[in-house]
């Protein structure tokens, strides 16, 4: 079974993709700045947590983007082993890198909030442990990518890790969940209606939208960089 050869991307096309990625990311970053104006100026202060709760508008959307990124890596990895399309591999690599950045934002904003509210930077709560392991899993995924030189081999290996990682998640979740959990329970995505004031919900939703847009922008940019690298390689080889 041989993987299809990568359609030779031109440098111009790669640069166009990168430009698009930069524009989307810039819009998203401006939007996130706007979210903070909204969060600080036009959203009520939480009664018990005070200003510390404002980090919620950064932490939750970052977590959303990270989980979105990692889920897509898993799905796209499975598709790659089926279709052997190199574009899928490039997308998975981009998504994993960008997801790792969002995961880092989530894992740093969390403790900043937890110190004043829980009185501790870190706790071995189910959700924290799960996301930490996801983070490590994708660090491993990217380390593997850098260690394999052959392009097709790299694509196959990382797809295998991506698929197995996706299957691992429920198991890690289940085993860490049986420890008592301290993390605030879901307040938006749950069976009953969201239990937070509508102004807060609005800010959160706008922020999630902006973070999703930032994810799209950064992945597009990273994808374009990948295309450019391929085009360079192709040109140097010729």
């Amino acid at each position: 079974m041989t993987a299809a050869a990568l359609p030779t991307p031109s440098l111009e096309r790669a640069h166009a993709v990168m430009r698009r990625g930069r524009v989307i990311s810039a819009v998203a970053l401006l939007g996130i700045a706007g979210v903070y104006v909204m969060a600080l100026g036009f959203t009520p202060i939480e009664a018990r947590q005070g200003l510390a709760q404002k980090i919620f508008y950064l932490h939750v959307p970052a977590a959303w983007s990270a989980l979105l990124a990692f889920s897509l890596v898993g799905i796209v990895s499975a598709l790659y082993l089926w279709l052997h399309d190199p574009r899928l591999d490039l997308f998975a690599a981009s998504s994993a890198e960008v997801g790792l950045v969002f995961a880092a934002v989530m894992l740093t904003t969390g403790p900043i909030w937890a110190k004043p509210i829980w009185g501790t930077w870190w706790t071995w709560d189910a959700r924290l442990t799960l996301t930490l392991f996801l983070f490590f899993l994708f660090v491993g995924y990217l380390s593997l990518r850098t260690a394999v030189h052959d392009r097709h081999e790299r694509a196959r290996f990382s797809a295998v890790v991506g698929i197995m990682g996706m299957i691992l998640v429920p198991f890690v979740h289940l085993s860490v969940y049986l420890f008592r959990t301290l993390h605030p329970q879901p307040i938006v995505l749950k069976p009953s209606a969201p239990s937070l004031p509508s102004e807060m919900l609005r800010t959160l939703l706008v922020s999630t939208l902006m973070f999703t847009l930032l994810y799209i922008g950064l992945v597009t940019l990273r994808y374009g960089i990948g295309l450019a690298a391929d085009a360079r390689e192709e040109r140097d080889a010729a």
């Binding site: 079974m1 041989t2 082993l81 392991f133 490590f136 899993l137 660090v139 491993g140 380390s143 593997l144 260690a147 394999v148 052959d150 097709h152 081999e153 196959r156 290996f157 797809a159 295998v160 890790v161 698929i163 197995m164 990682g165 299957i167 691992l168 198991f171 890690v172 289940l174 085993s175 860490v176 049986l178």
Partner: protein
């Protein structure tokens, strides 16, 4: 099917025979396991923490690390003189090849664990007369799943530089569910708790084995075939 089982056993026997001739990996892995157990005894303040409290974690951290060392050898031995290419060219279905490698790995990890367990009893001064059967059973249940994952990852990392470093980085997250489950079951076994308190964890361990042995067998051909 019978032919596949026979071929799997041939592959496993080849690995066992090769290892028994040199004994390097097996010996280092068992010595390594013993050393980890010794270090654990010094890593605890005996006035603050009784050895029984630390025992389950010490046992499983030792098993996990020693297993990693043992699994590293499965494919590194194949690297020399293009042995693995020869194996791939042989008319062996990939499923049988995977099963053979898995069996050989299980044998090595099993030996390492079998040596570490008596040392563990000795160093931690435990009375295992009643818990022994349970601990052996838990060890088997917990080991199968992560060795299956380790067999697939071992076949991948051997094609990279830093194989010995990459395997733990990739495999340790996959060891979390079996390790957490095994530690929980072991501590309940040592405390002589009823089976009903361990059943949930045992189910997770069994489900992990079924799922990951299946997935590993399915993806193995994507790893070895170009």
């Amino acid at each position: 099917m019978r032919e596949a089982i026979r071929l799997a056993l041939v592959v496993a026997a080849k690995d066992v025979k090769a290892e028994l001739r040199s004994k390097t990996a097996l010996l280092s892995a068992t010595v390594f396991g013993a050393l980890v157990l010794v270090i654990f005894n010094f890593a605890r303040d005996p006035t603050a923490l009784s050895s029984t409290d630390l025992a389950p974690s010490a046992l499983w951290v030792t098993f996990a690390f020693a297993a990693m060392i043992a699994m590293n050898r499965a494919f590194t031995v194949e690297r020399e003189h293009g042995a693995f290419d020869g194996l791939l060219l042989a008319p062996v279905p990939r499923g049988a090849l995977f099963a053979g490698k898995l069996l050989a790995n299980l044998a090595f990890v099993g030996v390492v664990e079998a040596v570490a367990l008596p040392l563990f009893v000795l160093f931690f001064n435990l009375d295992l007369s009643r818990a022994l059967g349970g601990i052996v059973g838990t060890a088997i249940l917990a080991t199968i799943g992560f060795v299956a994952v380790g067999t697939v990852f071992g076949a991948m990392v051997v094609r990279t530089r830093f194989a010995e470093l990459l395997l733990p980085v990739l495999l340790l997250p996959f060891m979390v569910p079996p390790l957490v489950g095994a530690v929980q079951v072991t501590s309940r076994l040592l405390a002589d708790r009823p089976l009903s308190e361990m059943l949930g964890w045992l189910r997770i361990l069994a489900a992990y084995d079924v799922v990951f042995v299946t997935v590993a067998a399915l993806v193995f051909s994507s790893v070895v075939d170009e």
